[in-house]
């Protein structure tokens, strides 16, 4: 999808931006020097490298351990889901939660429930799980049907199919899953360092440097974190390219894979759904029993219900929670819609002037690997501590994620479709109206589902670090007050909120797709 000549355009764009940055920094254009020149950042980074290195090593360590554990679990889970589709349906609730969870919300919970080191590795592993699991499962399920028949014809069981065919077939898919998982591991490791009291780690370093008015230090940390994540992405990409000999597009699966048997009765389906919803809560309860944590610190599902709904704390907790939600939800949705709109506009523009995509797409791909948390303080430096910063972060996070999906989706529209309408003399606008816009319908929703958890994460990080409002702030405050009930409540509520928004996107898609569409269902 990305060819060599595309890279020259990107290179031009990137070099231009870097140059602009340097000039703007030297001349102190942005908010009185909060954007230091690149050369200044690097000089400082090099001179302070001794101070950086233990932090970098600590983060690298938890990220890589999390990467390894998360991937092992993900591949084992995919094997189970493929061999026994029922398990996939039971775990669907957990899978969707793993995809939509705003990691910043579970970080404090993990820090409470687990030993510091384990918490960091767990959060990294948690973020690694979903991309690798879906990629592996897709790879196993896409094995050549002819080869499946052949192995079955020699009496091959499901296990033999897995061993001789599906696992190996999934390998390139798993590698491209790694491309998403590697930067996610870095993000997880850094987020779990927040407020964990850990001495070392880039997250700790970042929090420690926040109070000091030293933009070049913050930029140095942000860029270092980005470089580590980018390195993980690049290594995985090289591995993937070696496996496949082709530069396959990185497709992030945003829907939990469905393997529903059409023959199942309504009752059976309802049972599976109920089990899928209950299982996460059951596991939550069991984990706490197993860890033998004090019920004051570690809230069980019933403990949260008591805190929020029935106990003495209920009234105050509800008030604070609703105030926070009233702050967070509108801004998340608004920022996401704007980001989606801009992405859609720019993606359409790519039909009339392909140079825009060529320059932007690889750049947008790279932004997908940037650890959001390390960049937020930089946005705060530039945009201040108001609502603007939250919006800027949400919009840009949504935009880049959606843009990548939309452009890759558009690339799947067969050339012949455009050629056909061209033969009948269609203008560019006609082509957009007849083909690109109807075709984009499904991709808009893919983009929305992909961007949603990121948008919520962006808002919560900004609230925690900068604006002092909303869910993110409530979480941070509760940590300070040792209000364990609220920490658990915010974690659960933000996961539920994320799942709700995700399901709403699915519902909107379903509603749109059942209206008689103008032949726009699917190109592939």
């Amino acid at each position: 999808m990305i060819r060599v000549r595309d890279h020259t355009a990107t290179l031009g764009l990137v070099l231009g931006l870097l140059l602009l940055w340097e000039v703007a920094g030297q001349l102190r254009w942005v908010a009185d020097g909060t954007l230091p020149p690149l050369s200044g950042i690097f000089t400082r980074l090099v001179s302070e490298w001794r101070e950086y290195s233990p932090h970098v090593i600590a983060t690298l360590r938890s990220a890589s351990l999390g990467f390894v554990f998360g991937n092992v679990v993900a591949v084992l889970a995919a094997v189970c889901f493929c061999l026994w589709p029922l398990t996939e349906r039971l775990f669907r609730g957990i899978n969707i939660a793993a995809f939509t969870v705003p990691p910043i919300a579970v970080a404090p919970v993990l820090v409470i429930a687990l030993d510091g080191d384990v918490a960091r590795i767990t959060l990294a592993a948690l973020l690694v799980y979903f991309p690798t699991m879906t990629a592996a499962l897709a790879g196993m399920q896409s094995a050549d049907p002819g080869a499946i028949d052949l192995i079955r014809a020699y009496g091959g069981t499901d296990f033999k199919l897995m061993r001789h065919l599906r696992l190996r077939n999934a390998l390139p898919f798993i590698m491209s899953g790694f491309q998403v998982a590697a930067p996610a591991a870095v993000l997880g490791a850094i987020l779990a360092e927040f407020g964990s009291g850990a001495r070392w780690g880039l997250g700790t370093f970042l929090l420690g440097s926040l109070g000091r008015a030293e933009p070049d230090r913050l930029w140095g940390i942000g860029l270092t974190a980005t470089a580590i994540a980018g390195l993980g992405y690049a290594l995985s990409a090289i591995l993937a390219a070696r496996m496949t000999d082709t530069n396959r597009a990185v497709n992030v699966s945003v829907a939990a894979p469905a393997a529903e048997a059409a023959t199942d009765s309504q009752w059976k389906r309802a049972m599976a759904l109920a089990a899928a919803i209950l299982l996460p809560f059951l596991i939550w309860q069991l984990l706490l029993w197993w860890a033998e944590l004090s019920p004051i610190i570690a809230k069980t599902p019933l403990g949260v219900v008591d805190y929020l709904l029935t106990g003495k704390t209920a009234a105050s907790a509800q008030e604070r929670l609703f105030a926070a939600l009233a702050e967070t939800i509108p801004i998340t949705i608004f920022g996401m819609l704007v980001g989606l709109g801009v992405a859609f506009g720019l993606a359409l523009l790519s039909f009339t002037s392909p140079i825009v995509t060529r320059a932007l797409l690889p750049f947008a791909l790279v932004t997908q690997t940037m650890p959001l948390v390390a960049l937020t303080p930089l946005a705060v430096l530039v945009f201040g501590r108001g609502v603007t910063v939250t919006l800027v972060i949400t919009i840009s996070v949504t935009f880049f994620a959606a843009f990548v999906v939309l452009v890759q989706g558009f690339a799947l529209i067969p050339r012949a479709a455009f050629d056909l309408v061209s033969v009948y003399g269609a203008s560019t606008t006609k082509k957009l109206n007849l083909i690109a816009i109807p075709a984009s319908r499904q991709w808009i929703f893919v983009a929305a589902r992909l961007a949603l958890p990121k948008a919520l994460l962006g808002v919560m990080i900004a609230e925690w670090l900068a604006t002092g409002k909303g869910l993110g702030n409530l979480l941070n405050q509760s940590r300070g007050y040792l209000d364990y009930g609220m920490i658990w409540t915010v974690a659960i509520v933000s996961i539920l909120l994320s799942i709700l928004l995700y399901q709403l996107a699915g519902l909107a898609e379903w509603w749109l797709s059942r209206r008689p569409a103008d032949g726009s269902k699917s190109w592939n």
Binding site: G146, A147, D149, L150, R152, Y154, G155
Partner: protein, 264 residues
């Protein structure tokens, strides 16, 4: 002779497509005695492949029974007496030619075959020198030949082939026909060959079965009695051409023009 009998008795099979039942095989009986060579001809989509998939236990019959050596196809397949080549070569792209031919042994859990055995097969299908090549480096015809070598590798007692020579050009096809006849004569596995090539069917088989359009019923059952081994000169024989023409007529008119015999 090592062939084992294969039989279809009153077999019916239908698939449901969007809620509508599609009758693919309707009360069909066919007996392939041990060591026989049967060719199945019929219009595209008539259910030939479904018969083969039933014999491989890849599908389950709705009614009637399919038996290999008097037992279930599934247990015959598990015991490794069945060899198969599909329309599609179905090679594993990450395995070399040798390793692809070895695959059935691994699936069956048998000991690794001797290197000489695999080398012989590769030579037999004319792929000497390509032992270490991967499917991506081979042409369509070469891949198909690997699939044939793989079908023969386990020394099967029942050999099921679904248009295995479809991807080959005429010359290669005739060569492979000659080779297949040679191998078959040596071990006499019970063979069921699905093909679109009327001349191929007449050249190879003891018996040619013509099927009707869906649902598959037997329209004609024609014994082929040429002496074996059959040489290439048979392809120019007048009786050979008469048989091909007769079968061609059956294929063209199908059950619409029933012969006096089948009406009786």
């Amino acid at each position: 002779m090592q062939g084992l009998p294969l039989s279809f008795t009153n077999v019916s099979k239908s698939f449901s497509i969007k809620g509508n039942a599609l009758h693919v095989v309707d009360n069909l009986s066919l007996d392939c005695p041990a060591g026989s060579f049967t060719a199945l001809l019929g219009p595209s989509g008539c259910g030939k492949s479904t018969l083969l998939r039933l014999a491989l236990a890849l599908e389950t019959e709705d009614a009637g029974s399919v038996q290999i050596a008097g037992g279930m196809p599934r247990s015959a397949c598990r015991s490794g007496v069945v060899g198969v080549a599909f329309q599609d070569a179905a090679l594993l792209p990450w395995r070399t030619v040798e390793d692809n031919i070895r695959l059935p042994f691994e699936v069956l859990g048998r000991a690794r075959p001797e290197a000489a055995h695999i080398a012989n097969l590769i030579e037999l299908v004319g792929l000497k020198g390509f032992e270490r090549a991967r499917p991506g480096e081979l042409s369509g015809g070469m891949r198909q030949r690997v699939a044939i070598a793989r079908a023969l590798a386990t020394d099967p007692h029942v050999l099921l082939m679904d248009e295995p020579f479809g991807a080959l050009d005429l010359i290669l096809r005739r060569q492979m026909n000659l080779e297949l006849q040679h191998i078959w004569s040596e071990k006499r596995p019970t063979t069921l060959l699905i093909t679109h090539g009327v001349d191929e069917a007449v050249y190879l088989a003891d018996r040619v079965i013509v099927l009707s359009p869906r649902p598959a019923r037997i329209v004609a059952d024609i014994p082929i009695t040429f002496q074996r081994p059959r040489g290439t000169d048979l392809l120019r024989d007048a009786e050979f051409h008469r048989l091909c023409d007769e079968i061609g007529t059956w294929l063209e008119h199908g059950p619409a023009k029933p012969s006096p015999a089948s009406r009786a």
